[in-house]
């Protein structure tokens, strides 16, 4: 099996520096900080989609325009947290999966870096949208298209990340993938994309349920016809629908993953996650179909169980990666060790090699070869004038030659400037003598 991998797959070396913390600690940090990050990303993406939907609906029913405004207020907060919380998993993945992460980045280069300007634009648009609600009251088309554009960007960016996440898993593809568009065709990219979008909608549903249900939220000052119950019921239904759809998309995500990362451990972890989702679905269903005043009865239980589901799914995600990459990581490690040995050996050899005999017995000539010959030759112009010319200028002026070498000036208009070379006094005299000996 190893041979098979060797033939197809590049095996690069890892950085020869120790991990900064024990591996297990880094893994825990990676998994948890990632979940925290993705939670706010979900709220940012889901919130934008719902704002757009609600504002379009608001063209007919003013109440929904207000709802859109209220949701929009949360996006700018959630997006700031999403970005700053992304730094910790970024650091951790850099450290744990150095070879895999950077290779995947490089293979999708332009798209990877375009995340930065694209997200910046999307963020600026969310502010412009939020702060121009009054000003653009009579130009809804323009106002809504701001949100539309920012939603479009938010819907595109996850694809870039998912392509990277996928490429990381498959070093065996690195030699054949040609850029982002090609990598999009990896079988697992789109299933995972829809998995993510559904998660965003589901999470945002729960968030809205909580946000508009808070006691401290001054509901009646914002809405006249819409009721708390209606909004909460809609939000719950969204979570219910999105989570139900996950029962279909989830298996597709799993089945489109190459089998190399499967293990009983993985199945067990994912399975546990699914089991926790079942009571949550039941409680939500009861909330939606039950009496209006009871809708929030099981909310914290729902949030907790779904939180556990997400934690198990996130861990499963890591387990798959760890299993899938383990054989390749072994090869990388072996290669790194062998390489470091060679480095040591070559360094020793160089130290012990009989001191390279200087290009000449004349110390001046040796210095000239090393320091000057890049730019000067005997009788042709290279970068600077030939030695012949130097001799003709300085044959009676050793001091002048010395001074020039110490601190070269700018003389010939059609030549570049000669840099000072930092030679010692002795070296300058040697090389000057050597030059003046040439006739």
């Amino acid at each position: 099996m190893f041979n098979h991998i060797l033939l197809q797959t590049p095996v690069p070396r890892d950085l020869p520096l120790d991990l900064p913390l024990p591996k297990e600690v880094l893994i825990v940090l990676l998994v948890f900080s990632f979940l925290l990050h993705i939670l706010f990303v979900n709220l940012m993406v889901g919130g934008s989609i719902l704002t757009l939907w609600s504002q379009i609906k608001g063209l007919k029913d003013k109440e929904y325009d207000t709802l859109a405004h209220e949701i929009a207020e949360t996006i700018t907060v959630n997006k700031s947290l999403a970005v700053v919380l992304g730094v910790a998993p970024l650091l951790s993945i850099n450290t744990l999966y150095t070879v895999y992460f950077y290779s995947a980045n490089a293979l999708t280069g332009i798209f990877w870096i375009s995340v930065i300007p694209l997200v910046t634009v999307a963020f600026l648009l969310t502010y412009a949208h939020k702060y121009s609600w009054k000003i653009l009251e009579n130009n809804k088309a323009l106002h809504i298209s701001m949100m539309g554009l920012s939603v479009a960007i938010f819907l595109f960016i996850p694809l870039i990340f998912l392509v990277n996440v996928n490429l990381m898993l498959f070093p065996e593809k690195w030699n054949t993938i040609e850029g982002f568009a090609h990598a999009l065709t990896l079988p697992n990219v789109f299933p995972r994309y829809f998995h993510f979008l559904l998660a965003s909608l589901g999470t945002t549903g729960l968030f809205i349920f909580w946000y508009f249900g808070r006691k401290s939220y001054d509901f009646d000052n914002h809405f006249t016809t819409l009721t708390r119950y209606e909004i909460r019921k809609k939000a719950y239904s969204l979570t219910f629908g999105a989570s139900a759809a996950q029962f279909i998309i989830g298996p597709v995500v799993l089945l489109t993953l190459p089998t190399k990362g499967f293990s009983w451990h993985l199945i067990f972890t994912i399975g546990t996650g699914v089991i926790f989702a079942l009571p949550a679905m039941y409680w939500i269903w009861k909330g939606i179909t039950g009496k209006a005043e009871d809708i929030a009865n099981n909310f914290w239980k729902v949030a907790l169980t779904l939180g556990l589901t997400i934690t198990f799914m996130g861990s499963g995600r890591h387990i798959y990666r760890a299993t899938a990459l383990a054989p390749h990581q072994k090869l990388v490690e072996a290669k790194t060790i062998a390489y470091e040995k060679e480095v040591k050996k070559a360094t020793e050899e160089m130290k012990n090699a009989p001191a390279e005999k200087p290009a000449s017995d004349n110390p001046g000539e040796a210095i000239f070869q090393a320091k000057c010959s890049a730019c000067h030759a005997m009788d042709v112009k290279v970068v600077g004038p030939p030695i012949k010319e130097m001799v003709s200028i300085y044959k009676n002026d050793a001091k002048g030659l010395h001074d020039w070498i110490l601190k070269p000036g700018k003389k010939r208009p059609d030549y570049p400037q000669m840099p000072a070379l930092g030679l010692s006094e002795q070296e300058i005299n040697d090389v000057a003598n050597y030059i003046l000996e040439q006739k």
């Binding site: 590049p10 520096l17 700031s80 730094v87 490089a106 070559a346 730019c375």
Partner: protein
Amino acid sequence: MDFPIFHLDFMGDRLLIAIIAVLHVLINHGLAVGFIPLVTWIEYLGFKKGGKNAIVNNEWDQLAHRLMTVAFIITTTIGAMTGVGIWFASSLVNPASIGSLIRVFYGAWFVEWTVFVTEVVLILLYYLSWKRSLGSIEAKAKHIKLGAALSIFSWITMSIIVSILGFMMDTGSWVENKTFIAGFTNPIYIPQLAFRTPLAALMAGAIGLFLTKLFTKNGSSFQQDSSKKIALWMLLMLPFTLAGALAYYFKIPELMIGNLPVAVGTMDFQSWYDLLVKFIIGALTTVFLIAGTVYFKPKLKIPTIVYILPVIGMLGFAGIFERIREFIRKPYVIGNYMYSNTLRKEDYPLFKRDGVLAHATYSPVKEVTEENKLVAGEQVFMISCSRCHTTRGINSVVDKFENMYSLKAGEKLNGDLMKNYIKHIENARYFMPPFPGNEAELGALVEYIKHIQEDGTPIDHQATSMR
């Protein structure tokens, strides 16, 4: 070289990082670290001027709020994203160096991250609770304390980053010890911090003064009063900035020498060094003149356009120091450990022995032959020159050679001369790392450069490793 190589063959990879990084530093210094204390101070002045019946003086409070709006929107969009952008760009352009830095500085970065999260939470609270803070004296007093806390956290964020920047310039004893503390206590840390703190405050003052001119009614007494306060802020920061700049300035040559295997290239450095003095004098004098006029002659009518001068002056001033920082690092990305072609110094003997291609995982050829020499040459170029040069774009290697040999249009490059030059490249121009490969690879590189000179076909643009 052990990552697929990302290369932007038009703009050059260094420019990509430079644009993102400089933008980030300017926003971080000018609109966060230095700006938030200024805003908090103005808010505090408004609070004190509130009088008997009001919680605040509205004019002052509104000015503080508007200044903060600008800072909030820019820092949480362009500021935050360029911060992430530095990681993204480095991971593409210099994976080996950023990867090594993260391994060494994971702890510092993690602490930095927690501080940074706190900073973001505080900035959200501070800005978004502004309206609510106008409800009562207590709420306002609390809000001002929040501003103070935010100021402190943004300063701490900067002070950690500075240590990392310092490390990249001068690894101190890290190369021997490879421990985290050794990296953190490197010798340039304190001078850098002493310089950046007042610099940030002064930049913020320049920006604040300009915005105040825009946000207040021309000729009003409030405009005069508020501008006067900001001018005072600038005048107070000025001597500290000057002292910090000078301390840093005198520390640089020491570093330069420590950083260079042979003390070459002093002249290239000298011209930058001279330019630096001009910038220090020019920018600080501009700031002094304008802040001084606003402070001592508040009634004098100065056109808005003049207020831009200190802003430009300070941006240029900060920019040139960033440039110098880059300059000192060369030919290393991590002083004495990794060259800026991202090859480790200690790997060179191996490369000299076996050649670089033999150890380049992603190179399709491992050894130079007569048939493959252009492909091999392209690989050698990508490995040893492409982090700083393009083939035909900005800082093109062909142009560099043509200019250096003062070739006339149509004249061809001479392979033997180029070979001899590249062999001694680190002696000719100290900022370039030594050529890593063997004789055959040198030959292939030269053939490749001649080939692009002749038929002008550069490599596949943004090609990652060539296949």
